[in-house]
Point group: C2
Chain length 340, copies 2
């Protein structure tokens, strides 16, 4: 990666990244580029932390990305977050409450930055809401955008949005992460940024099914377009601002995820189209956030009588055993009518 220009951080600032999957590791690496920022990365498994410390690489998740000596990796959560001005939370939804429950008694309440994308199945809560349940005093932000981790690890350019109801926190996160190949924009629409990031995974499952069936770029572009309309409809209902969904954290993330062969949600959709079931995906340890998200979304949409044909189609394939070719054909042949 390119060495960034000098930035406004003071030399003593310390931040922590909790979660050493691909995205957590890449975020830690981006933060470590910032002069004057001291970064600690927490890995759940001691062996993983030890291997990263010894090899200066997170080989299972981000092979080839060099971790600088200044990046401290540990499996001791208390050590990772001690004195941190902010904690970047980069664990998947299924691990979020466990990590928050361990953070709560540590008596630290710095700013928190939610870096994962999804909605909690049981409660339909956004991840920042779950975080706030445990640390209600801490200001919270969400980071989202077209950010395929492995591309960023290769030093390719990307951009993202950081949203917070505390404008000063959004600006601080921007200052820490912004660098020539990673441009960060601020937003005040925390709900819109989080909801867009969660819902795009559902559309990515549909796009993956379309690609798995070989339906081509016209069909996928139609799915993305009508999928974004569903995201807007649901997202505005949940309190997001419409314009947010047309930005980097909505449309941008949606397009990147639906285009990429490295997206787990897209891959899960492709494999469903080839006849695999939810059990097959689980057996091969392919976790895609869209799978629990679509279940939460469809339950909510039914309760408020919101029409979300693409989300329902994805749900029917995953949870009702319908054939992907059948639900996609039904989607494409909905009645001819005015577009809006």
């Amino acid at each position: 990666m390119v060495r960034p220009r000098q930035n406004a951080s003071t030399p003593s600032t310390h931040v922590a990244v909790v979660g050493a999957g691909a995205w957590g590791t890449v975020i830690a690496r981006l933060l470590a580029n910032q002069p004057g920022l001291s970064v600690r990365l927490w890995a759940r498994r001691p062996e993983a932390a030890e291997a990263m410390t010894r090899l200066r690489e997170n080989a299972p998740y981000v092979p080839g990305l060099k971790l600088p000596e200044s990046l401290h990796v540990t499996s001791d959560l208390a050590e990772a977050v001690r004195g941190a001005e902010a904690i970047f939370v980069a664990v998947p939804s299924r691990g979020l409450r466990e990590v928050m429950a361990r953070l709560e008694p540590l008596g630290v309440a710095p700013a928190l930055v939610s870096c994962a994308k999804g909605l909690e199945l049981a409660t339909f809560k956004r991840f920042s809401e779950v975080i706030t349940e445990y640390l209600p005093e801490a200001p919270v932000a969400a980071l989202s955008g077209p950010n395929l981790a492995l591309e960023i690890a290769r030093g390719l350019p990307a951009s993202a949005t950081v949203a917070s109801l505390t404008p000063e926190l959004a600006l601080r996160v921007q200052g820490w992460l912004n660098q020539p190949t990673f441009r960060v924009y601020t937003s005040g629409d925390l709900i819109g940024v989080e909801v867009g990031g969660a819902l795009k995974n559902v559309v990515a499952l549909a796009a993956g099914m379309s690609d798995g069936l070989g339906l081509g770029d016209n069909a996928k572009a139609s799915l993305i377009t009508r999928g974004l309309a569903e995201i807007v409809r649901l997202g505005v209902q949940l309190g997001g601002e419409e314009k947010t969904f047309y930005g980097l954290s909505g449309l941008g993330d949606l397009v990147a995820t639906c285009s990429s062969r490295s997206s787990r949600n897209h891959l899960a959709g492709e494999r469903l189209a080839r006849g695999e079931t939810l059990e097959d995906l689980e057996a091969s340890r392919l976790t895609a956030e869209g799978i629990p998200t679509v279940r939460a979304v469809v339950a909510y949409a039914r309760s408020v009588r919101l029409e979300l044909p693409i989300a329902c189609a994805v749900y029917d394939v995953i949870y009702e055993g319908k054939a992907p070719q059948q639900v996609l054909a039904e989607l494409m042949s909905r009645g001819a009518k005015p577009e809006h």
Copy 2:
């Protein structure tokens, strides 16, 4: 292609398609699927019309697409349009005025459907406006959407929007073209549909450059997102409705064109990124509508002081000889700021 269900056309209806490139041929083929619709396709060159009639295939443009016996191909323009209830105009911008000048004295003024995407360089007119100059009495519509012709020729599903200020014409065109694998939606926003179709070619040039430089899916998704914001800004200024640009003829077409290896605009961008010049593209007879369109757009934007960074970057590469890597790096490193 699948045989369509019976539709509302009367048995004697006759329509013409003017222009036998890939898109004109595919439109004629879609129309010929409609029971009771008699279709004539006009090809400029007599040899081309003769070959299509004999071989029942437009081998140079759409190899493998079978043209049914009921589809009459001719190079006699008067014969093609005689008695037609509508003329689908599918010629590129550089041939539009010549064809319209030949249609004008034929004394026919049925409905016209503009099927090409672009803006006239010298006048900044939409194609429906050019058509109306010659046949001011005729109602006019525009057809647009994520419609890579070669995919539709293979029978893959697609959807499109037909827009007209004459709602009854939009409904008629929808009735003629709609079939299980080609879904047509109507719109009253003629300006928005035409402007979106023209401007997406400019963003597709930028996306092609990004792909040609190997910048990845994150960068391309950012370009598409910020490119759509430019399309909205310019399109609303020109009289289009914002929501149209988020639909099939705007976002849908943009995503399909930026994804596809079969898009000429995307290909032109890729070749520019590899160091070819405008002269090289012209020498190899690669015509991409975005090339004249971006010139018209940038001249207009400067005259009204509208900020369009992506269009200006594309212009600088094509007409000012700037290096694609330089202009894309400048685009990605614009000042950190709020997203909206």
